[in-house]
Amino acid sequence: MLRFVVKKVLLALSTLLAVSVITFGMFFAVPNNPAELMCGDSKNVCSPERIEMIERRMGLDKPIPVQYAEFMRGVFVGRTIGTGPTARDCPAPCLGFSFRSDEPVTGIVGRTLPVTLSIVFGAAVVWLVLGVSIGMVSALRRGSAFDKLAVGTSLVGASMPILLFGPLLLIGLVYETGLLGYPRYTPLTENPLAWASAMILPWFALGFLNSATYARLSRAQMLETLSEDFVRTARAKGLSKITVYGRHALRAAITPIITIAGLDLGAYLGGTVITETVFGFTGLGRTALNAALDLDMPIVMATVLLAAVFVVAANVLVDMLYAVVDPRVRLG
C-alpha cells in the first residue's frame, strides 16, 4: 500500500512539475511583453526606461529559467519580488502579483476558490445522488415506465448545455416570476443560509445536467453487473435483494462511476467558468478566463497549477478508493 501511495504521489508531482514548466514556457513563447502591456495601454509615454522600470518591479528583468525557479521557490518558501525601493515581500505560498490589479495572487485565489468549491461540491452531491439513484432504480426496473422516463430525461439532460439551461432557470425562476432572488455569493462561514440559498440555482443546474450522464452510466453498469455470475450465486444462496443489490452488485458497478466522478470533480474544481458566468459568480474559472484574456501570467499560472493539482489529486484518490470499494482490486 505504502509503495503504491509513494509511486502515485511521485508521479503526481512530476506531472505538476511538467504542467508548471509548460504553462510558464507557453506564456513567454507568445509574442508579448508583459511590461509593455502594462505600460502601453494607459500611458502616452511608454519609453524603454519605463518598460525597464516595470520589468524590474515585477521581476521580469531576469532570465526566464531564473524567473521560473524563483516562482517555484516562492510557492514553497516565499520570496521578494523586484529590487530596490520597490521590492515587495511575498510570503509563501507566493504566487506573485497580478499584472493588472497589482493584487497578491494568493489573495485572489483565496477569494475565488471557495466560490468554485461551493458550486462544485454541492453540485457533485446532486449529480451523484440523483444520477446514481436513478440509474440503479432504472436498471432494477428495466423496461418499466420509470426506466423509459429516466432514460428519456437523461438523454435530454445530457444533451443540454448549461449555457442554455442556466439562463432558462434564471428567466423562469428569477426574472419572470421572482420566485428566487438572483444568486449572490455569501461565504459559508458568514451566513450558511444565505450561502445555501445563493447556491440553489447553480447546484441544481450543474447537478441536474451532470446527473444525466451518471444515470445512464450507473444504469448500464448495474445491468452488466446484474448479469454477472457472482450476483446469480448470491441470489441462489438465498440472500435478500437488498444485500445482493446494495452490497454486492452496487459495489462492483460503482467502480467506473467513481473513476468518472473523480475526474469530473477534479476538472470542475479547476473552474466552472460557464456556470460561474451564467450565475454571476467570480470563481476560479472566471478569474482564470479573464486572466488568460488579459495575459495576466501570474494568475494564469496559479489557476492552471491549481487545476492540475485538483485533477492529479482526484486521480490518486480514485486509484486508492478502488481498493476500498471493489474487493477485486488490490494495490501493489
Partner: protein, 584 residues
C-alpha cells in the same frame, strides 16, 4: 467594461472657452452619417464666477433622500486608489466618495461647467501666463473622520502619484511639474525619496496650493478634475493597500468592499453639502454588485423584481437585448442613450501608405455601417467622419469630404485607385471585437480592389503604438480625458511627438502645416481656441485622410423603474450618480 482612458500629453493651450457649440443629430444610417449640422447643442465652459463653485448643489426636482441604489457590473474596478484610477467607471463611482480640486458640473442636457470642487474656483492663473496656478481650498471640507482637509493633503496625494508602485493613474500633472515625460526621473515620490515635497508644488498655507511650471499649462484646471488631485491623509496612506481602503472626502464613505463581489458606500456624516457644488447624497447607500454579466444585469433591471427596481445595469445593453429594449416603449426614461466621447477610427499607417489617393480610396470603400452593426448598430453608436467627438468643446460638423455612404462606395474607390490593386495588411484584435469587425473591413476593401491580409494580434495596442510596426491599417479608438480638443488634436495629430514606442498618434501622421497650426491655436486667447481646433480637424481630414473615422460610441443602458436622476457624463461618457435618487 470600457477601455482605460488614454493619457494625453498636451502642449500648452488655452481652452478657457466661455462657450462653444457643436452639432449632432440622431444617426438614421440612411445617407452616410448624418452629422452634417443641426440638432442638439452642447455647451461647455469653465466657471468664472466663484459662486458656481459654491454649494449646495441645486435640488433635483422630485428627489427625496432614502433608498439603496444598486449598480450592477461584471468586473471589479481595476483600482480604487484615486492616484491609480484611470477608468471611466472607476472615476464615476469615485466622485461619490472622494473629491478633486476641480470638477465638471453637468446637468445631463449638454451643459458642462468646470468649477472648483475642493477649491474655491477652477484656479487662479497668477501671472496670466499659465505657468503659475494658485488654488485655495474651501473652508469646512473634511475627511470622513472629521479631520479638516488641508492643502498638504492634496499635495501629498499628488506626491504619492510619483511613486513607481502607485502607477496606473493619469500623469499629466506629474509630467508638467517635472517638465519631463519621464516624470519620476528626479523626484520619485514620498516613499522612495523620503520627502513629501514635489518640486514645483508649494503648500503656501493650510488652504493654499501653488503649482509652478517651467512651461505654460493652461489646461491645468481640466487636468485637476482627474483623480490625481484627490487628497490623501499621509497618516492613513497604506501605500499599495490603499487600493482596498480609501479615506473618504465626499458624500459617501466605504462601508464594505469584498473584491469581485460587492462594493458598498454609506453616507459620510462629515461631508458638508454646503461646500459641494455638484453632489447630492440622496440614496442611503450605493452598492456596486460585481459579477453578473451584461445580459443578466439588463434582464434584472428590465424585470425589476424586488430590489432590482433600484438597479442600474451599468455594463450597458448587450447586442442580444438591443431590439427588446428599443422595442419596449413602456420603458421610457429607463432607457439611457447618449453619445460618449469615444471615437473609433480605421487608422492608416501613414508611414507605409504614403499615397493620399490610396487613403482616400480606403475612406470611400469602408463599410462603416457594417462595422457598427457588429457592435449593436445604431443603438451602440453613430457614424461619424470627424476626428473630434461631438462632445468636444468647439467641435463643428463639416461635410464628409470622402463620403462613400454608410456602407461604402467601392466604385468610387476603384476609380481613385486607377486599376491598382494595393496590398493592405490589416491588424485586428484577437478578441470578439476583432473577429466581428475584421471580416467587414476586409470585404469592403476587397470589393474596392484592395488585396487585404488580416492578421489577428494579441497585443494589438502596444503593437499599434510602436513606430515601424509592419501593419497598414488597424482599428483604434480614442476618448478624450476632458471635453477639449487639446486632449485630442495635439495628442493624436502632432507628428513631432512621435517616438519609438507608446505613440498615441498610431497613424504616424506628421505634416508641417498641421503642426504649425497646432502651435498657433495652442497660443490663442481664451474662447477662440475651440472652433480653431475644429478647423484643424477639417483640414487634416480634407487634405490628408490619415485615418477614417468610423463611429462614435453610445452609452446605452437600462435602469430599474425606481431609479431617478441618472446623468450620463459628457466627460466620461458613462453614468454619474451625484443627482441619482430612488423614486419613492
Amino acid at each position: 467594461m470600457r477601455p482605460r482612458l488614454a493619457v494625453a500629453a498636451t502642449s500648452a493651450a488655452l481652452v478657457l472657452a466661455s462657450s462653444a457649440l457643436a452639432a449632432c443629430s440622431e444617426n438614421t444610417g440612411e445617407n452616410g452619417d448624418s452629422d452634417n449640422g443641426g440638432g442638439k447643442q452642447f455647451t461647455s465652459s469653465i466657471a468664472t464666477d466663484p459662486k458656481d463653485s459654491q454649494g449646495p448643489a441645486a435640488e433635483v426636482p422630485g428627489a427625496k433622500p432614502g433608498g439603496a441604489l444598486k449598480l450592477i457590473q461584471e468586473q471589479d474596478f481595476e483600482h480604487l486608489d484615486p492616484q491609480r484610477t484611470y477608468t471611466f467607471f472607476g472615476m464615476s463611482i469615485q466622485q461619490m466618495f472622494v473629491r478633486t480640486l476641480t470638477v465638471f458640473k453637468e446637468d445631463g442636457n449638454g451643459n458642462v461647467l468646470l468649477v472648483g470642487d475642493l477649491a474655491t474656483d477652477p484656479g487662479k492663473d497668477v501671472n496670466k501666463d499659465c505657468k503659475t496656478w494658485e488654488y485655495t481650498l474651501k473652508e469646512g471640507v473634511k475627511f470622513e473622520d472629521g479631520t479638516p482637509i488641508k492643502a498638504a493633503d492634496v499635495a501629498y496625494g499628488i506626491a504619492r502619484s510619483f511613486e513607481e508602485t502607485i502607477d496606473g493613474g493619469p500623469t499629466y500633472v506629474q509630467e508638467w511639474l517635472a517638465d519631463n515625460a519621464e516624470y519620476n526621473a528626479t523626484y520619485k515620490g514620498p516613499y522612495t525619496s523620503g520627502s513629501d515635497t514635489v518640486p514645483g508644488l508649494t503648500v503656501k498655507d493650510d488652504r493654499t496650493l501653488v503649482f509652478t511650471f517651467a512651461k505654460p499649462h493652461c489646461d491645468l484646471p481640466f487636468a485637476l478634475s482627474l483623480p490625481t488631485s484627490v487628497p490623501v491623509p499621509k497618516a492613513q496612506d497604506t501605500k499599495t493597500e490603499y487600493d482596498r481602503r480609501v479615506v473618504s472626502s465626499g458624500p459617501y464613505k466605504i462601508k464594505e468592499y469584498v473584491k469581485d463581489t460587492r462594493f458598498v458606500l454609506e453616507r459620510n456624516p462629515n461631508w458638508d453639502p454646503k461646500t459641494d457644488p455638484l453632489r447630492h447624497a440622496y440614496p442611503e447607500t450605493i452598492e456596486v454588485e460585481i459579477g453578473p454579466n451584461d445580459t443578466a444585469a439588463t434582464e434584472r433591471a428590465l424585470a425589476g423584481q424586488g430590489a432590482d427596481q433600484t438597479a442600474v445595469a451599468w455594463d450597458e445593453v448587450p447586442q442580444a437585448l438591443v431590439n427588446q429594449v428599443l422595442g419596449d416603449s413602456s420603458l421610457g426614461e429607463r432607457v439611457v442613450r447618449k453619445p460618449s466621447p469615444s471615437v473609433w477610427y480605421l487608422s492608416i499607417n501613414n508611414e507605409r501608405i504614403k499615397d493620399v489617393k490610396v487613403r482616400q480610396a480606403i475612406a470611400y470603400a469602408i463599410d462603416k455601417q457594417g462595422i457598427l452593426a457588429t457592435q449593436g448598430g445604431d443603438a451602440s453608436g453613430k457614424l461619424t467622419h470627424t476626428l473630434l467627438a461631438d462632445t468636444t468643446i468647439g467641435r463643428t460638423a463639416y461635410p464628409n469630404p470622402y463620403d462613400g455612404g454608410p456602407t461604402g462606395n467601392p466604385e468610387k474607390a476603384k476609380e481613385l485607385l486607377g486599376g491598382q490593386k494595393p496590398k493592405l495588411v490589416f491588424m485586428s484584435r484577437a478578441t470578439a471585437f476583432g473577429q466581428q469587425t475584421a471580416p467587414i473591413v476586409e470585404q469592403s476593401l476587397e470589393k474596392a480592389g484592395f488585396d487585404v491580409t488580416v492578421q489577428y494580434v494579441e497585443d494589438h495596442n502596444p503593437t499599434a503604438r510602436t513606430r515601424g510596426n509592419p501593419y497598414d491599417i488597424y482599428l483604434s479608438n480614442w476618448a478624450a480625458d476632458w471635453p477639449s480638443a487639446v486632449s485630442t488634436i495635439p495628442v493624436l495629430w502632432d507628428g513631432r511627438k512621435l517616438g519609438p514606442q507608446g505613440n498615441s498618434n498610431v497613424s504616424y501622421f506628421n505634416a508641417d502645416d498641421v503642426n504649425a497650426e497646432i502651435d498657433r491655436v495652442s497660443n490663442l486667447p481664451a474662447g477662440e481656441a475651440g472652433p480653431e481646433w475644429a478647423k484643424i480637424d477639417q483640414t487634416i481630414m480634407e487634405k490628408y485622410v490619415p485615418v477614417v473615422p468610423i463611429y462614435q460610441d453610445n452609452t446605452f443602458l437600462v435602469t430599474g423603474a425606481k431609479v431617478g436622476g441618472l446623468i450620463v457624463s459628457e466627460q466620461f461618457g458613462v453614468p454619474v450618480f451625484y443627482n441619482s435618487h430612488i423614486k419613492q
